[in-house]
Amino acid sequence: MTAELGRRIVQPILSSTRCFKRVYSDGIKGSNLKIAVVGSGPAGFYTAYRAMTLLPGCKVDLYESFPIPFGLARFGVAPDHPEVKNCQEKFEEVARSPNFRFVGNVKVGEDVSLNALTENYNSLVFAYGASIDRELGIPGENLDGVYSAKDFVGWYNGFPQCFNLNPLLSDSENAVIIGQGNVALDVARILLTPVDDLRKTDISEHALEQLSRSRVKNVKIVGRRGLLQSAFTNKEVRELFSLKNCSFVPLEDKYIRDYRKDLSSLKRQSKRLVDLIDKYTKPDSMPLPKKWSLEYLKSPLEFLPSNKNSSRVGSTIFEENILTEDKITGSFRALGSGSTVTMDSDIALRSIGYKSTPLTGFSDIGVQFNDKRGILVNEAGRVCGGSELKPIPGFYTAGWLKNGPTGVIAFTMGDSFDTAENLVQDYNLGILDLSPKLGFDGIKNAIKSRVVSWEDWEKIDKFEKANGAKLGKPREKFISTEQMLNVLG
C-alpha cells in the first residue's frame, strides 16, 4: 500500500522528467498533442485543465473573442456572488502553466478561420457558450421597457455591448420577469436589493447610478408551469426570501397545497422548496416597502402599451395554463386554458433561456450545428458531422454549446471533465491525427486582430482592480473593447 501510494503521488513528478521516454517517444505523455480551445469561460478552462492534468505534455491554446478571459464567470455571475467567481483562481493556475497560451481578442471565424485552426492543431474544443437569448415572439415585444434578461445582466455586469441599455427604472414601479431560472432570480434580486448593499461589489458604476434612482418596488416572477418545475435553485430563492425591506407575497395556495400532502414522495430539491416557501410565508407580517411574488401556470400572450405612452409597455397579458403530465416520460407540459390575466408591467424582462450560434466555417470543417436546439451536435462532447452524423475524431465541445444553456459552474466543471476525458481517451486509442502541428506559431501571422496575451490580460486586470479600489470596489470593469486595449498601449 505504501509503495502504491508512493507511486501515485510521485507520478506527476516523474512525468515531467525523462522517465517516460521509453513509453512515449516524444518524452512526456501528450507532448505530440496541440489543442485549441475556443472560448475561455468555465467550460473552456475546465476542459483545458483536465486535459492538461491527464496529458501533462499537451499544449493548449485558448482562443477568446474578448481581450479578457472567464466568460460568464465574469459577465454572468451576479456581482453579489463573489464567492462563485473563486473558480477564477483555478483558471489563473491553469494559465500559468508553460503549456498554456491565452489568445485573446481573436474571434474565431472572423479574425482567424476555422480552417486555419484545424490545419495547425491536432484537436479543437468548442466551448464558446450561448451568446443570444431566446425571444418570446409575441406582440409588443419591441415596446420600450421590454428587455432581455441577458442584456440586463450584461448591463450591470459591464458586458461591452450592454452598457447603454438604460433600463427605464426611475419611473417604474411594477416589474414582470418572464421565466424562472437563476438568471430571472438574479435580475429580481438586483432590482430589489438596497442599492447601498451593491456598492461594494464589482457591479458596474453606470448600473449602480441608475439603480439608485429606481422606483421598482413590486417584482413578479412568472413561470409557465408549476412550482416543482421552477428552474431556479434553492440557494437563489432563499436569497430573495432573505432580502431586507422586501416581503414575499404569499404563494397562492392552489400552487402548493397538493405537494404538501405527500412531501416524502418529492425529490430532495422539491421537498426543500416546499419547506422553504412555507417557512418564509408570513401573511400577517407588516408590509415592507418592496415586495416580490412567484407566479405560476401563466404564459405571456402580449405586451400592451401604457395608457400614457403608446411606445412604452404598460401591462402584460398572460394565458392561464393547466399542467399535464406525460405518463410515459414523466415530463410536465403547460396547456393553455383560454382564460387570461393581466399584470401591470412598467418594465418586463424575458428570461427564457439562451442559444448558441454557429461559427462561420462549421460547414467547411464538416461539423453539424443544431439550429433548433442551439447546440453543436455531439455525443458526450465528441462533435458529430458527416452524412451519418457520427463523432469526428479531433473535434469536441463543452459547456452550454454542448448541452444547452443550463447548469451551474459545478455542473459545467464535471461535464467539461467528461469532454476532456473523452478527448484523452481518443488520444490513447490512437484515433487522433498526431502529425506534427505548428499551433499558434502557424497562424499568428494570419490573425487579423491585435492578439491579447495572458500578460496583457494581467495588465488590464491590474487597471480594473485599481479603478475599483478608488470606488471601494474589488473591480471596476472596462465597458468596451477599446478601453481594454487602450491600457495596453
Binding site: 440557494k235 425529490k267 459545478a410 464535471g414
Partner: protein
Amino acid sequence: MSARILSCSISLASRPVFSSVIKSKLVSFSSSALIKARSFVSSTPALHGHVHKPKPGEEINVTFITKDGEQIPVQVAEGDNLLDIAQANNLDMEGACGGSCACSTCHVIVDPDFYEKLEEPDDDENDMLDLAFGLTETSRLGCQIIMKKEYDGIRIALPAMTRNLQVSDFDRR
C-alpha cells in the same frame, strides 16, 4: 437525472467501499514535496489547503476512498477541513468556489457510522447538496467538515466527479 440520483440514494452501509477493512500501514501527512507534486504547473505549486501538521499524539485518522476504490489513509490535525486535507494529499477533489460553500464540487460521501457524529448541514450547505451529482443519504461538502477528535477513524468516499459511463453503469440503467 432525478432517477439517477434516486438510484444512488441507497443505504451506504451496504456499499463495498466502506465494507473492507483497512490493514495498510498509515502513511503520514503530506510533506511540501507532495503538495508540489499535485500541480501540473511546475512553477507554481498548488498550495490549496492551509493544513496543519498534527501534534504528536493528537493525530486524527481519516481514510479517503477514491472512486476507483483505493484506500488512502492520512493523519490530520483538528480544525482542518476535508477539502483542504484532500487537496494537500493530492486527492482528486475540486473546490471550485475556494471552499466557501458556493458550489458542490467537493461533494463527499461520509461513512454512515460517522455521519450522525457530524454537525448537521446548514441551509447553505443543503442548497449546494441539492445540486451535487450522485447525492446519497450521507453526502456532505468536504469544505464544511471540520475535523474533530471524535471523528478519528472516519472514512470518506470520493464520488466520481464526471459522468462518463463506466461499464458497471450499464448494469444499473
